[in-house]
Structure formats: C-alpha cells, structure tokens
Amino acid sequence: MTALTQPRFLSRVQSRVPSRFLPVIATFVVFVLTFGAGAVRYEGFASGQVIANLFIDNAFLIVLAVGMTFVILTGGIDLSVGAVVALSTMIAAATLEAGWPAWLAVLAVLASGSTLGLGMGLMIHKLRVQPFIATLAGMFLARGLCFVISIDSISIKDPAFRTIATETVMLPGKVAITYSVLIALAVVAVAAYVLHLTRFGRTVYAVGGSESSARLMGLATGRVTVGVYVISGFCSALAGLLFSFYMLSGYGLHAVGMELDAIAAVVVGGTLLAGGMGYVGGSVVGVLVLGTVQTIISFEGTLSSWWTRIVIGVLLLAFIALQRLILYRQRDL
C-alpha cells in the first residue's frame, strides 16, 4: 500500500507548486541560455544596448503577443493580427498623407483595429463561428483593405511620427531606448494588472479553463469572449503604430506572417494553447527568445535569415512537447 501511494504523493508535492510556472521558468532558462550562447560567442553581444535593441526591434511584437495572450488564454486564436498591423500602418500613412493631424491618425488606427476585433469577437460569440475561421476572415479583410487603400507603399513624412520614431530615451549606463519600448512595457504592465487583479482578467482564465462552467458560475463569458478579441484588435492596431514608427511607411505587405511570430512567442512563453494557463510576462520573454535567435543569426553573418524560421519551428516543438509533459503529469494526479 505504501509502495503505491508514496510516489503518487511525491509527484503531487513536486508538481503542484511549480507546474503552473514551469513553462515560464523554462522560457526564461531558454532565454538565458540563448543569450548566454550569444554572449560567449560574440564580442559585444552581452551589452546593455544589445538587450535594449531586443526591446527596440521587437516592441511591436511584444504588444502583439500581449493581445494574443488574452485570446489564447480563453482558448481562442487570432490569425488576423499580422494583417491588422499592416492595415494600421496603411491607415496611418494614408491619413497622414491626406493631412490629418498625427493624433487623429493615431485615433483612427486604434479605433479601426478595435472595431475589427469587435466584429470578430461578435462573430465568434454571437454566431458561434470558430475563432480560427472568424479571424481568418478578419485577416483576409484587413489585408484586402490595405490594397483598397493603396497597392503601393506609402511613406510617412509626418514630423510627429518621425520624432517619436527617432527620439530615444537615455537610460543609466548609456543605454538608449525608443518611446516604442516604453509604450510596449506600459501595455505589458496594464495587461498583467487586468489579467490578475480584475474580474475581467480572472474570467479570461475561467473561460479558458472551462467555458461552460464559467457560464454556469454566472460569469460574463460573452463579454469576455468578445472583449479579448477587442483587446487583441486594439493591441494589433497599437503594434501597427509602433511598426509604422519602425518602418516609417505603410504597406499592404508589411508584417506578412507576423501572426505566426506572435503565436510562437506566446506558446514559447509558456501559455497553454488549450487556454486557462499562462502569463503575459511569459509571452514577453517568448518575444525576447525569438529576438535573441534573430540577433544571433544576424551576428553570425554567414547564416541565412531563413534559419530563424527553422529555429523558431524547433523552439515551438520543444515547448509544445513540454506542455504535453505537464499535462500528462497533471492528469496523473
């Protein structure tokens, strides 16, 4: 009898505490390892500025991943984010070219992104369309609308945009960051606050755990389901703005496949694709891991950029395998 209960008891104690955090810890370890590998291999890699550049080059992806984290936590998926980023750059560029003031252009971008998200959310909630299909439609629509605005790339010459794009903030240790990084970090902070300290956030987790239970518990599942797509749409639009700061142009072929990067970052960041488990912080580290891989490949010089995709694929695989392992252990409880 003891022989039978002992290992059960042990495994319970071992896995109860960290199993929720295990993927995030693993992500962090992977980040430290990849970054460490870069630091050992290349001189000047382990500088504050390289880390800052990780944030600067991926600020838009961080914002995108935050929105995607909300969606995936409810067990959904948002394929439209890359296309919405492109549409946002396009709207920003076109409205600025038409002479709109910068603040109005920004508002227009954020409003249209959120509205698209609202539309997809309503389709998913009211019409019971699967998230995959609804956001696929959103993706087609957003990409197509880019080309309705213009087939060609439009450059952004607005002084306000240019200023935000090029101005840097000096941190102690002579490390420079852009405003985009500050915006991205603010988004992360707000997202963490909402997810962990508000009823909306906890309901996001509840819906991901079991939507039918959450509904029977009397929680506002409908509002949350629609809400996460609005949040994701808003984040995509914001990421699109950051991306237009980065590229200083609007183009319908910007950010092709970026939804995959966002999903990859969230998964590598330890969020369970079935929903209900994961952290925004994890997604940020996930983005940093992807960014580090890219940086290493560019430092290497001889490696072609398509290696990035292969490495991301391998990382995805590794983290999916890890998730399976955790689920197996939970089931054994």
């Binding site: 009898m1 039978l4 290992p7 059960r8 319970r12 109860r16 929720r20 606050y193 300290l197 508000t198 009823r199 906890r202 309901t203 987790y205 509840a206 991901g208 755990g209 079991s210 039918s212 239970s213 959450a214 509904r215 029977l216 518990m217 009397g218 929680l219 506002a220 209900g276 488990m277 939970q330 054994d332 409880l333």
Partner: protein, 510 residues
C-alpha cells in the same frame, strides 16, 4: 410547514425541444426550510424542470413565482442573483482557478477596484470551514479530488446567501462518508431556512434527507407527496408506473457453475501504479463475475487493465492459457474475444453524431479493417436483430445515436459488443443513470448471455445489483483486490462488511 406560502411556485410549465415535449403542464412548489426530493426515471424531465426554473431553458407556457412575485430569468446568472443557486452532477467549476476564486469569483471582494486576494481567501476559508473543509483556498481546484470539488461547488452556491439551493444528483460521485458529510451540510442549511431541491437516483437518500417528494414521469407531474407518508413501493411505482415484475425474473443464480475447470481468462499479477495494485483473477465461460467496491476502489481501473484500455505496469492477461500481446491495447483484447463496454457512454462509448447502425457495427467493422466493409445486408440484419432483441427505441437504424435517451444509448452500446460475439464481456456500470425498466432489461440480458456460455465481468455501484446478478463477487477496496466471494458467502451484508473492514489482508473465502 406547508402553511407558509411557497418560496418557489411553478405552474403549468411547458418546455419543448424540437420534436420533443420535455415538460407538459408541470406544477412544482418549494417551501422555505424544506428538503424537497425531485424523483423520476430518466427522461422524466427533472433536469429540464430545474433548467426551466433557472432560466437555462425558455418556457413555452406556464409561470414561475418567487416569493409570490412572477419572475422569468433570462439565464442562471439572474436566477443566482435572485437567490437560486444550482450545483450540478458534474462539477461545473474551473479547475485551473484557485479554490477561493471558484467560490467567490463574480462577487469577489475588491479594494480600490482591484480584487482583494487576501480578503477573498479569508472569506473562502470561512465558508469552507462551515462545510467542514480545511483545504488551502489558494490552491488550484484541480489539485483536489472530485468529492472535494463537489463540496466547493456547494460552498459557492451557499456563498450567495442562497434562498433556494438546487442539488442535481450531487451524490453520484461521492462515497458513503462524503454523502453523510453532504447531508450534514444540507441539514444545517435547512435549519437556516434555505429551500433545498434535491435530485437523486438513490431511494434511500430520499428517505434519509427529504421532507417532501415530487415525482415526474415522461415530462408530466405524477404527484407531490410528504416523504413520511409515502412507502418505498408507492414511490417506485409512481416513478415507473408499472409493476416491478421484471426485476423478479433476474433471480440470483446459485453456484451452478463449476463444470469447466480451465478458466477462460486469467490475470496474473496485473497492476498499474496509481490505478490498482497487482491482482490475480480467473473468469470462466458462462460465469458472471461481479466487481464490488466503492467509487475509487479500482473497479473501473481493473476492467480497463483487463481490456488493455490502459497499459499495465506489471503482470499479464491470458486468454485460454495464452498471453495477450504485450502493449497490444484494446485491439489485442478484442482479437481474443474480450469486449469492454465503458462506464462513460458519452466520453468513450458512443460516437454521438453517427447513426445507430454505424455505432452498432463499429467494433465489428474495426475488427475487419477499413478495407472490408461489412456488407449492407449483414449490417441491416444484425442491427434489426438487436433493435428488436434489446427493445431499443426508437427502432430506427438511421437515427443519430446522440438523440436517444440514456437507457437506449446503453443498449446500442451493448449491441455493438454483442455483434462482435465476444467470449468475455466486461460491463462497467451498464445500468448507471438509466431508468428502472431499461435496467431490469439489461440485467436480464446479462443473465441470458451467461446462460448461453458467455463470461461476463459486471461492475456496478449498486451492491444489490451486483449481488443479485453475479455467480462470484470480487471485492475491491483502496485499489486492492481484497476478497473473492461465492455461494452463500456472497450476500450484500458480507460484501458490505468486507468493504467496510479495516484490514487489507482478507484471504479468498471461496
């Protein structure tokens, strides 16, 4: 007690689903400070009535009064806000959230607009203490056993100062102690003036806890009775509306079998960590072996190991003295003539969206492989045969199986296995959650099959049923096989005593 006005008064309730009249002109009253049992066979409309009350199903006709005022809830959230809380048979909570969140989410304490985690945990701890639970409110709900989760669900229900507490078959996953614990809590709530609506399949529990009983049959009201004034026989006949003759047919057979000394199946030291400790077992042709034990004693686990549904850590299974292929899984067992009708029809029994015909021939087809389709005529003949023999309704081979009632689904599942002509049939809770008539029918079928030479391993939570139907009884406790009883030693009292006894070292008493 009945002099005060009813708290809930439902009158002339009609509920319809496409093609089905689920409730027809049903009245129901619930008074404060009473435990009211709602009884009926499957398909009687108990759940529908509850869901009509809580706003899950819209009414075609009828009205609901709460405290004298007419109400109509658009959904369970609004019903809950009005003080009507429901605890369902399956625990409807979120296992990925903490215990405290599961109890209080939706009305969580806040400070400056932010969830106040500390107060929330403290308040949850108080509520849990009232239910006699001392678990950590901060722990994930999923880390606790189902029974605890069930009590947490009740804690959530009473946390709202519920005036009406609906318990929809809350005891089906609890063992005796846990049921006693639940009843203690129900009594506390009753004393506080809460009206408790209690749905159960167990007649004993009705007499133990309830003050009044309402019986439904086929979506219609049979009557409302004071429990103390209603005899068990009257209750049962009100529920099924016919004599219990069929039950008597399945008389317990004495040990008429000992002819064939070579066992059909032999398990040697079969075991799996965390599921069941290594055990030996022999089953002979033409014999019904019953598995008795409480929920969680390893009944289902034992059956799944025999069938290869789960992989064994130790030991082996032999059919006719030949070992089954290691790691062969269900297919190896099926090839040797073992069939396993699982406990959970919906999850791992039927293929809900396929027709009755497809479901029935599925196992036969799987055995033939996809390339050799079962000829349409053979399939039709077999399906027709079992539709008649098992009295499946509707007797339509093209009906989608998900639309059938629980008892008929069970029969379809049984037919699937009978079509494969197994030599050993493992039935895990074939009579759970189905009505009395179908139950008796299935018991009779089992007895007939054994008489024809089939070996049957019969698992049921109802001890009386196991005792009545089995030639030999294997008793399990705490994931150990503790005894084998046969003949006069295999009575309800004997088995009960073994299950309740403390020592694990009971030798086989045959």
């Amino acid at each position: 007690m009945t002099e005060s006005p009813p708290l809930v008064d439902m009158r002339g309730i009609h509920v319809e689903f496409p093609g089905v009249k689920a409730l027809e002109d049903v009245d129901f009253r619930l008074f404060p400070g009473e435990v009211h049992a709602l009884m009926g066979e499957n398909g009687a409309g108990k759940s529908t009535l509850i869901k009509a009350l809580t706003g899950v199903h819209p009414l075609e006709a009828g009205e609901i009064h709460l405290d004298g005022a007419p109400v109509s809830f658009p959904g369970p959230a609004q019903a809950q806000a009005a003080g009507i809380s429901t605890v369902y048979q399956e625990v409807n909570l979120c296992t990925n959230l903490s215990v405290a969140e599961n109890i209080l989410l939706g009305r969580e304490p806040r400070r400056f607009g932010v969830i106040d985690g500390r107060t929330m945990r403290a308040r949850a701890a108080t509520l849990l203490a009232r239910m006699g639970l001392t678990i950590d409110p901060g722990s994930a709900l999923g880390s606790h056993p189902i029974a605890v989760q069930q009590l947490v669900a009740i804690a959530r229900a009473v946390a709202v100062d519920a005036r009406v507490l609906i318990l929809d078959e809350p005891t089906s996953s609890l063992d005796t102690d846990e049921v006693a614990e639940l009843f203690r809590i129900i009594r506390v709530l009753r004393a506080e003036g809460v009206a408790v609506l209690f749905v159960t399949h167990f007649i004993e529990q009705v007499y133990e806890i309830s003050d009044r009983v309402t019986v439904l049959r086929n979506g219609k009201l049979v009557g409302e009775y004071a429990t103390s004034a209603l005899s068990r026989i009257d209750l049962v006949s009100a529920m099924i509306g016919r004599e219990l003759g069929v039950l008597e047919e399945v008389e317990r057979r004495s040990e008429r079998r000992s002819a064939d000394p070579a066992p059909l199946l032999r398990a040697e030291g079969l075991g799996r960590a965390g599921a069941i400790a290594p055990f030996d077992l022999e089953i002979h042709a033409g014999e019904v072996v019953g598995l008795a034990g409480l929920l969680g004693s390893g009944r289902t686990e034992l059956a799944r190991l025999l069938f290869g549904a789960d992989r064994a850590d130790t030991g082996r299974v032999l059919m006719d003295g030949e070992p089954l292929r290691q790691r062969g899984g269900p297919r190896a067992a099926l090839a040797k003539g073992i069939a396993f009708s699982s406990e959970d029809r919906k999850a791992d029994g039927l293929v809900a969206d396929l027709t009755v015909r497809d479901n029935m021939i599925l196992a036969m087809q799987a055995a033939r492989g996809w390339a050799r389709q079962v000829p349409r005529r053979t399939a039709d003949e077999l399906v027709e045969k079992y539709l008649t023999e098992l009295d499946i309704r509707p007797a339509n081979p093209d009906a989608v199986v998900g639309t059938l009632s629980g008892g008929n689904q069970q029969k379809v599942l049984l037919a699937r296995w009978l079509i494969t002509r197994p030599r050993l049939l493992i039935l895990d809770e074939p009579t759970r959650g189905i009505d009395v008539g179908a139950k008796a029918h299935i018991q009779k079928v089992v007895a007939d099959l054994a008489a024809d030479g089939m070996a049957v391993l019969f698992i049921s939570a109802e001890l009386e049923e196991v005792v009545r139907i089995s030639d030999r009884i294997v008793v399990l406790r705490d994931r150990h096989k503790i005894a084998e009883l046969s003949g006069s030693a295999a009575g309800v009292d004997e088995v009960m005593e073994l299950i309740a006894s403390g020592s694990t070292k009971v030798e086989a008493l045959s």
